[in-house]
Symmetry: C2
Subunit: 129 residues, 2 copies
């Protein structure tokens, strides 16, 4: 199992190194090994774990809540029901957000249509001159 440096992890996940360090400082990346010189070493598992965190971040889960999840993971099997609940609740939050966005998209489509029509008719106005 290969290990990645922070720059490799950064490249693989397309996320700045500064963000990875920030996440670790916030407690989102426990158990990361270091080499003799103190450099972070990311295993494949840890890359995957970070990917999950990025998914949660991409769906606007606050860092404090991600931290809660991470703590539960560290705590072990006794917290599986809590984690399941967290994912189920978060999924619903995301679906609600997307519903809001879809509603906004509908309004934007109307705007786009109306503006397109106005531009069309103003062009016609010119042609008819």
């Amino acid at each position: 199992m290969k290990h990645y440096s922070i720059s490799e992890a950064s490249a693989k996940l397309t996320i700045p190194e500064s963000t990875i360090r920030y996440y670790e400082k916030k407690g989102l990346l426990p158990l990361i090994e270091r080499d003799e010189a103190g450099r972070r070493l990311f295993s494949d598992d840890q890359i995957m774990f970070l990917q999950i965190i990025i998914y949660l971040k991409n769906t606007n889960m606050p860092i404090s809540r991600i931290k809660q999840y991470v703590d539960w993971v560290v705590e072990g099997d006794g917290t599986i029901d809590l984690r399941l609940d967290l994912f189920i609740k978060h999924k619903q939050t995301v679906l609600d957000d997307m519903a809001l966005m879809t509603e906004a998209l509908k309004a934007m489509d109307k705007k786009i249509e109306r503006y397109t029509n106005r531009i069309q008719s103003s062009k016609q106005g010119k042609e008819e001159k």
Copy 2:
């Protein structure tokens, strides 16, 4: 055409009054009338305009960009093509965001499934004792 007080507008759009004032200060609500005592009066049109702003906010358009849109609206018909372009681009941004969220949802669904299975089998383990 009736006019609404800030509290009525707030209730109608389910958004805090403080936010409405904040938006006005940021220039997102030009042309709002005031009564003799200096209180804001919102027409139906302005309520609808604010609703659009809320849609843009709900889809994570930064206030600076919303301001740009508002300025173009104030400027008049000469900016219709710019506004159309803004909406088309923003729509794509929103679709991209939703794609990211959908991808995250897929990962969450896998987690939910795995956790559910683990909980199931741990229950079975108990029963078999």
